[in-house]
Amino acid sequence: MTEGKLDHFAYDDKIVRNFLMATMIWAGAAFLFGLLAALELAHWPFNLNTEFITFGRLRPLHTNAAIFAFAGNAIFAGIYYSTQRLLKARMFSDALSQIHFWGWQLVIICAAITLPLGYSQSKEYAELEWPIDLLITLIWVVFAINFFGTIKKRREQHMYVAIWFYIATIITVAVLHIINSIELPVSFLQSYPVYAGMQDALVQWWYGHNAVAFFLTTPFLGLMYYYMPKIANRPIYSYRLSIIHFWSLVFIYIWAGPHHLLYTALPDWAQTLGMVFSLMLWAPSWGGMINGLLTLRGAWHLLREDPLVKFMVAAITFYGMATFEGPLLSIKSVSSLGHYTDWIIGHVHIGALGWNGFLTFAMIYYLVPKLWNTKLYSLRLATAHFWIGLLGILLYYISMVTAGITQGLMWRAVDGSGRLVYPDFVETVTKIVPLYWVRAFGGLFYIIGFALMAYNIYRTIKQANTKVVDTKVSAAPLTNHKVEDEEPHKKLEGMGLTFSVLSFIAIAVGSIIEIVPTLSLHKYVEPSKIIDPYTPLQLAGRDIYVKEGCYVCHSQMIRKLPSEVLRYGPASTIEESMWDRPFQWGSKRTGPDLARLGGKYPSLWHFKHMMDPRSTSPGSIMPNYPWLYSKKTDFLILRKKLSVMKGLGVPYSDEEVSQADLNAIKEAKIIADDLRSQGIEMEKLDEKEIVALISYLQALGQKGKK
């Protein structure tokens, strides 16, 4: 390497500082949204009767803020800092870095405006509407060009393991986002996905699970591989372990999505694949944990002395817990108990608060003093942050697992005479409300810890009065000489393009095998069971259901489990959701399943229930929806909606499309007349959203009955 000639250049540290500040700001927002959501579940009036912060709209806001705003900015900060140093090169283009930064903040602001307003596709972590989807794609491509351009101009022959994880992240997130977001616009802020029912469910959970894998796991593993040895100043434990666990993780993860759909109407073969690949994920995941933790071997005293090491080790330990619990929850019998319950909420928060949160905090505590050329203001405050945050996570996790298992057992309890022991769903809810309070306190502790950190970082930056400048470095350019006797993988680490193509192939295999067969949905549909599509008013009501985020608390999927059939009626079939765009199978039951709600109660019951759920279901924790009684249904757009649906293959006749609004008005009158005959007096009742919603609710589960 002593060629003599050295390049003199500087790393772009400003972009890292920008992303770090954004991380701090959005972390605060994401955590506060989470706390408010937790409080609303403990005490429903916390939504203040305001539609914009009611749970159905707040929950997507919280998850999007936590994943894409907080974790996203943290990833970018960590990647921009470490990539430049690992590749010995300034980022490919400062302009692209700036576009990436500001573009991503724009995406977040668009999300923060549209989600509270109810513009949502209802696909979890992919709720944002189509114009924002396009913007995300654009910004991600900018990031990719900037990143791969940096690889191209690197001065380090071999790419370190952190870079491998960044490569896999950038490629896979692009594939996931684009494929899951293929949708047809109805208006500027509404669209219908091209996938329907079971197909949509499979694509969505292929995306949803791998958003966890490739947005919250692989980039953070990359960060771990850089910041753990940096913070502890210790060598990484095993190079060959990093090779095996990287490739096995990337290859296996992509298959695991269907474990979100066990015992549903998804074909058995896909469920089985989802379960077995989830089990196989255990060892590859733990490979990362071992490499992280054993980096400390021989230096465990650091754990006692250094709060940054504490955060890192706790983060990696939580990663180990979450990646053991994940495969466990994917076992069909365990899933039958835990799915739809708060156990899953506990599970994801071990990952989010423990793994992503704590690792990010360690990284911020490490980077801020370096980037502002000073020392951390207070190590004692950082230590206090650690213990308070840890207490918060434990309260959160223990309360949610207890709540989940308790409720799961109550749902399935059947006595000797073949009856449900707890036939009233609300009984299983009021039982766990105290645990919702414990969870909220857990979240509060976590936020208090974060506030200490914000103060600590503020003081650190304030005390750094010297003008900060980019780090200057000198390094030799890459020469073209090839080392012949390198191991194959070592050689591969010198080939950026080949490495990226292989990563793409690794994630493409599972994706193709699972998704392609279901693209011809009709193969799985029995012609004799094909159902009628929604009437125009039902469709209007359905869009209100989606808009209000009803799916965050109510499933529409009766699983093939005896206790569910006993409680809700016959198991849901593929045909029953075959026209559903987007699908509404749901992932959590804070309230009961609604797949067969239609006809169960008179329309008057729904009218009173949506106004004040406690008037018909004492003890319910569902919020009131007073705005449905003043807002008007948009009848005119129904022609467009039906025509888009028709374009997607829903069998509407041309006449049905052109008469959609008139037909909907007729339907509304029937329901409104019924309500009026029961004594409801309300001006222009026919036009109110509540009537359209009732029309949809009364259709649930009725279409299959012929």
Partner: protein, 183 residues
């Protein structure tokens, strides 16, 4: 530390050193065990030597139907329970948990019909008629079937309470529905 030196990789990235320890054996064991288990599991279920989810459900439902059938043996003498004076109070408690939302706290009718007047929608208001509606519900009108929720004795107690409401003339009654029945 000699062990570390032996395994030391020559690579340094931005000052990060990588060792090259062999894979922990227990880790390799888990890795292969889960793969082998996965393959066997998949073959077992997808070659139909294991039950499909539909078959599992059918078997589970069979058990429940069996239990429900054997439960029929414990039928009670409904009339006797309905006539017991203490049944009214027990029925009132159940009514105040499950029924008042639709029929009103005093039976005056709300979403469902008035239970205090002389008009009856289904049958003539005899204890047998009321029991039948409580048990099997009226699906078309949104009255749930309580058979699978309330125990036989509880069903009878509710009927006793409903019978006791007749002629109580509560405030804000719902307009009469159904056919008038003369006492």
């Amino acid at each position: 530390m000699s062990d570390d030196k032996e395994n030391q990789s020559t690579e340094h990235f931005d000052g990060i050193v990588e060792h090259d320890h062999p894979l922990p054996r227990w880790w390799v064991a888990i890795f292969f065990a889960t793969i082998i288990y996965g393959v066997i599991y998949y073959i077992h279920y997808e070659s139909h030597s294991g039950p499909t989810t539909d078959q599992e459900l059918a078997a589970g439902m069979q058990e429940i139907y069996q239990a429900q059938k054997s439960g029929v043996a414990e039928t009670i003498d409904y009339d006797q329970v309905i006539k017991k004076p203490e049944s009214i109070q027990a029925g009132a408690k159940i009514y105040s948990e499950k029924c008042f939302m639709c029929h009103g706290d005093k039976g005056q009718g709300l979403i469902g019909p008035n239970l205090t007047d002389n008009h009856w929608v289904h049958g003539k208001g005899t204890s047998q008629d009321i029991l039948a509606v409580v048990q099997t519900g009226v699906a078309a009108k949104g009255m749930p079937a309580w058979e699978s929720v309330l125990k036989p004795e509880e069903q009878a107690q509710v009927v006793a309470f409903v019978l006791s409401l007749k002629g109580t003339n509560p405030k804000n009654p719902k307009a009469p529905e159904g056919v008038e029945v003369s006492n």
